[in-house]
C-alpha cells in the first residue's frame, strides 16, 4: 500500500503578487523596445531570477543592510561584510508597509519597511546582521525603530544636515569611524589598511565602470536608453560588486562598438531628458519608462538610485588607515546632493551642469507623494532651471500603477512642447 502523504499546496513564487508586479515591469522594459543591448541580458536575467523566480542571491560574508547612499560601502567590504541597499520599489511592499507609516508617507520608506516585514521577501539576500540607517529624511529616521521592532539590529548613522559647516565635516568623520568600529564587531574581522585598500579598489572599479557608462550617454543621438541604465544601477543595490562591474564593463564595450558603428538607440530628434528627484527603484521604473515610451530619452539623472550613488569618487592623499577613512567619509558627505540638507545649491549646480554637458532639452522632476524634502526643493530647482531657460516637468506620484494613464498624457505633452521649442529655435 502506498502511503498517501498530504503535500501542502504552495503556490510557486512566480505566481505571487510581488513576482507579477516585477514581471509586468520587466516585460515592459525588455519587450517594449527593440535593439536592447545584448550585454543587458545579464541584468534582465538577474532581475528575473531575483524578483520573478525569487531565487536567493549568493553573497559572501555577513549581510549589512543600508537604507541610503551615505553608508560607506568600502568600510563594509573591508570589514568582511556585504552591503545590501534595502530601499525598495515594489508597490506590493508599499502596501504591506502602509501599516507602519501615516497615510501620506513616502512609498519608498513604506516599501522598504514592507519588504523587511515580509517573509521570503525579494530580492532574497539572506540574513542581515545589521541595518545601517543614515539619519536622512524624517521618515527614514523614524523607520529605524520600526525595523528594530521587527527584530533587526539597527545602527543610526548620524548624518549632519548642514554639510557646509566645518564642524559637520569633523563630526561626520567621527561618526564614520565609529561605524567602522561597529562593523568590525559585527563581522569579527579587523579593518586593516590592506583590506580597506582592496575594498576601495572594488568600489573604484565599479565607479570607473559607471562613469564610463555615464559618459557614453553624452552622445547624441543616444546609444542606450535610460530605463536600462536605471536597471543597471538598481542591480548595484544587491548584486555582487565584482560581477556587477564586469557586466557593466561588458555593456560599455558594446556601447563603444555601437558608437563606432554610429548606431542610434533613439530617433534623432528624441527629446533628451535629465531625471531628478525621488529615485526610481525597480519595479517602480514607471516614470523613466513612460518618458522613453513616449519617444524621449533619459540621458542622465540626479537621483540616489543611480548617479548620486555611484558618481563621486574618493581621493586619498596619505594611505594611512585613519586618513583613508576620513577621505571616504568626506566623499559620502561633501558632494552629496540629497535634499535633506539645509541648503542645496550643490544639487542645482549639478543639475545645470548635467543639462548643459549632456545636451539635454528638459528636466523631469519626480517627487513621491509624501516626500516633503523633494516637494520643498521643487520650487527652487524650478526657478533655477527656468532662469537658465530649461523646461521642467514636475510630477508627484507614488508606487501605485493607477496614475499611469494620466502621467503618460502629461509626459507626452511635455515632450511635445520640447519638440515644438526646438523646431521654433531652429526656424
Amino acid at each position: 500500500m502506498s502511503e498517501i502523504r498530504e503535500v501542502p499546496l504552495k503556490p510557486a513564487f512566480n505566481q505571487s503578487r510581488q513576482a507579477r508586479e516585477a514581471e509586468v515591469m520587466l516585460n515592459h522594459i525588455v519587450d517594449d523596445f527593440i535593439d536592447n543591448p545584448a550585454a543587458m541580458t545579464y541584468f534582465y536575467d538577474l532581475f528575473r531570477h531575483a524578483f520573478i523566480e525569487g531565487k536567493a542571491l549568493d553573497r559572501e560574508g555577513p549581510g549589512i543592510g543600508t537604507t541610503c547612499i551615505q553608508v560607506p560601502e568600502e568600510l563594509i567590504y573591508a570589514a568582511g561584510g556585504t552591503p545590501v541597499r534595502l530601499c525598495n520599489g515594489a508597490y506590493h511592499y508599499d502596501q504591506v508597509g502602509a501599516d507602519f507609516m501615516p497615510a501620506k508617507s513616502c512609498s519608498l520608506v513604506k516599501a522598504t519597511l514592507g519588504r523587511l516585514h515580509s517573509e521570503k521577501a525579494v530580492p532574497d539576500v539572506g540574513k542581515l546582521e545589521l541595518i545601517v540607517n543614515p539619519t536622512t529624511c524624517d521618515q527614514k529616521k523614524k523607520a529605524a525603530q520600526m525595523m528594530e521592532g521587527m527584530g533587526y539590529q539597527v545602527y543610526d548613522l548620524d548624518l549632519p544636515s548642514a554639510k557646509d559647516n566645518e564642524a559637520a565635516r569633523e563630526y561626520w568623520r567621527r561618526v564614520v569611524k565609529q561605524l567602522a568600529a561597529r562593523l568590525q564587531k559585527v563581522t569579527g574581522k579587523k579593518l586593516t589598511r590592506q583590506r580597506l585598500r582592496e575594498a576601495m579598489a572594488k568600489t573604484s572599479r565599479a565607479q570607473a565602470a559607471f562613469r564610463t557608462l555615464h559618459n557614453f550617454r553624452r552622445k547624441a543621438p543616444s546609444l542606450i536608453l535610460g530605463k536600462d541604465v536605471f536597471l543597471v544601477t538598481n542591480a548595484y543595490f544587491f548584486d555582487d560588486i565584482e560581477r556587477w562591474s564586469a557586466a557593466v564593463e561588458a555593456l560599455n564595450a558594446e556601447l563603444a562598438q555601437r558608437e563606432a558603428e554610429a548606431f542610434s538607440a533613439v530617433q534623432k530628434k528624441a527629446p533628451r531628458i535629465v531625471f531628478t528627484g525621488s529615485p526610481p527603484i525597480f519595479p517602480n521604473i514607471k516614470l523613466p519608462l513612460l518618458i522613453e515610451e513616449a519617444g524621449g530619452v533619459v540621458v542622465a539623472d540626479e537621483t540616489c538610485s543611480a548617479n548620486r550613488m555611484l558618481y563621486d569618487m574618493t581621493a586619498v592623499d596619505e594611505w594611512l588607515l585613519s586618513h583613508m577613512i576620513e577621505s571616504i567619509a568626506d566623499k559620502y558627505l561633501k558632494p552629496c546632493t540629497c535634499p535633506i540638507f539645509t541648503r542645496n545649491d550643490d544639487r542645482i549646480r549639478r543639475l545645470l551642469d548635467l543639462v548643459s554637458t549632456f545636451n539635454a532639452d528638459g528636466v523631469v522632476y519626480q517627487s513621491f507623494a509624501g516626500c516633503q524634502v523633494y516637494e520643498m526643493e521643487q520650487r527652487s530647482v524650478a526657478e533655477a532651471l527656468n532662469k537658465a531657460g530649461i523646461p521642467m516637468l514636475y510630477i508627484e506620484t507614488d508606487y501605485s500603477p493607477d496614475d499611469m494613464g494620466q502621467l503618460s498624457t502629461r509626459v507626452e505633452a511635455f515632450l511635445e512642447s520640447i519638440k515644438t521649442r526646438k523646431r521654433q529655435a531652429r526656424a
Binding site: M313, L320, K334, P335, R350
Partner: protein, 323 residues
C-alpha cells in the same frame, strides 16, 4: 597634440614633483660648486648662508640689508639698488608665481621630505581646526611687516645695527640648509650682543619647531612664511595661474583632502575663478586630485597646460590603491 595633452593630464604628479623638487634642491644647494649663480633676488628660500654651494640667494637676505642702509642713502642712490633688486625679484616671481614654493624652494622641499618620512613610519598627519587656521594665517603678514620695518628702523637710527637681517636670525633656512653642505656653524648662539643672543636663541627654538612641526604637519612652516606673504601681494600679474570653474565643481572636497596647506576655498568656493589663496604653494596636488574635467586647471600666460580630468584622476587613484 591631444595625445600630448592627455599624457600631461594623466601625469603621476607625485612622482613628477618628487624628481623636479629633488633636481631643484640639488641645483640651488650645490649649483654654486659648478659656478652657477642666478643672482640674489630669488623668490624662495635658496638660503644665502649656504656659502659656496648656493646657486643664488633668497631675496629676503639682500632686501633686509638694503633696507637697513642709513636713510639719507636709502632715499638717494641706495634706493636704486633696492628698486632694481625688487624688479629682478618680481620678474623671477612673475614666471612661476607661487610655483616657486610648490616646486623649487629648498625649504619647502625639505618639509615634503619630512612628510614622506612620517608617512613611511606610518604616523598620521595633524592639521588645524578651521578656527586655528583663521587665527594663524595672519602671522606671515606680521612677519613680513617686521622684516621690512625693523631694517628700516635700523637705517633710521631708531635701533642699533646689531640685529642685521633680523628675519634671517630666526629663519629655519639659515640653520637647516647649510647642513646640506656640511656647514654646522649656524648652530651656535651668537653672544656678541644681547640682541643677537635673543635672536639666535629664538632661531634655534624656531628651527627645532620647524623640524618637529614639518614632521607632524604638512608644510608647517610655509603657513607662516613671510616670503609667501610677499608673493601673494605681487601675484596679480603672475603668469602661472590656478583657476577654477565652479560650475563643474561638485564640492566633493577631494582637492581639499590633497591640499598640504588645508585650503578650504579650493573645494568650497564655487564663484571665484582665480582660486589661488595666500597660503597656496601652487603644488598642483589639488588639480591632480580633482575628478571633474576642467574644474581645476593651471594656465601659463592664459594657455591651459594641465587640468583635472576623470581619466587622470582614476589613473592616479588606482596607483595609490594598488601600491
Amino acid at each position: 597634440m591631444s595625445k600630448l595633452r592627455d599624457a600631461v593630464n594623466n601625469v603621476d604628479l607625485k612622482r613628477f614633483r618628487f624628481w623636479f623638487q629633488l633636481a631643484a634642491f640639488v641645483l640651488f644647494v650645490y649649483g654654486g660648486y659648478l659656478a652657477i649663480n642666478l643672482g640674489n633676488s630669488l623668490p624662495m628660500f635658496s638660503c644665502g648662508y649656504i656659502r659656496d654651494g648656493r646657486a643664488g640667494v633668497c631675496y629676503l637676505l639682500p632686501l633686509q640689508h638694503q633696507l637697513a642702509r642709513p636713510w639719507p642713502q636709502l632715499f638717494s642712490y641706495a634706493g636704486v639698488a633696492v628698486l632694481t633688486g625688487f624688479a629682478i625679484f618680481a620678474l623671477w616671481f612673475i614666471v612661476l608665481n607661487k610655483g616657486w614654493c610648490g616646486f623649487v624652494c629648498p625649504l619647502g622641499t625639505l618639509q615634503d621630505w619630512l612628510t614622506s618620512l612620517r608617512q613611511k613610519l606610518g604616523i598620521r598627519q595633524s592639521g588645524y581646526t578651521h578656527e586655528q587656521f583663521r587665527r594663524l594665517t595672519w602671522i606671515k603678514y606680521v612677519l613680513l611687516a617686521l622684516l621690512l620695518l625693523i631694517p628700516l628702523g635700523i637705517g633710521g637710527g631708531l635701533w642699533s645695527h646689531e640685529v642685521g637681517a633680523p628675519f634671517c636670525q630666526i629663519c629655519p633656512g639659515r640653520m637647516v640648509l647649510p647642513l646640506f653642505v656640511g656647514d654646522f656653524s649656524q648652530w651656535t648662539i651668537d653672544f656678541s650682543s644681547p640682541g643677537k643672543i635673543v635672536l639666535t636663541a629664538l632661531g634655534m627654538g624656531i628651527t627645532g619647531l620647524f623640524i618637529v612641526g614639518a614632521f607632524v604637519k604638512k608644510r608647517f612652516f610655509c603657513f607662516f612664511c613671510p616670503m609667501s606673504a610677499l608673493h601673494y601681494l605681487l601675484s596679480k600679474p603672475a603668469l602661472l595661474r590656478l583657476r577654477k570653474d565652479g560650475s563643474k565643481c561638485t564640492r566633493c572636497g577631494d582637492c581639499y583632502t590633497a591640499c598640504d596647506m588645508e585650503i578650504r576655498e579650493i573645494a568650497d568656493d564655487v564663484t571665484r575663478k582665480e582660486i589661488m589663496t595666500d597660503d597656496c604653494t601652487l603644488c598642483l596636488k589639488c588639480v591632480a586630485a580633482c575628478p571633474e574635467k576642467g574644474a581645476l586647471k593651471v594656465d601659463f600666460a592664459n594657455i591651459t597646460f594641465f587640468e583635472s580630468t576623470e581619466e587622470g584622476f582614476i589613473k592616479r587613484m588606482n596607483k595609490g590603491i594598488r601600491k
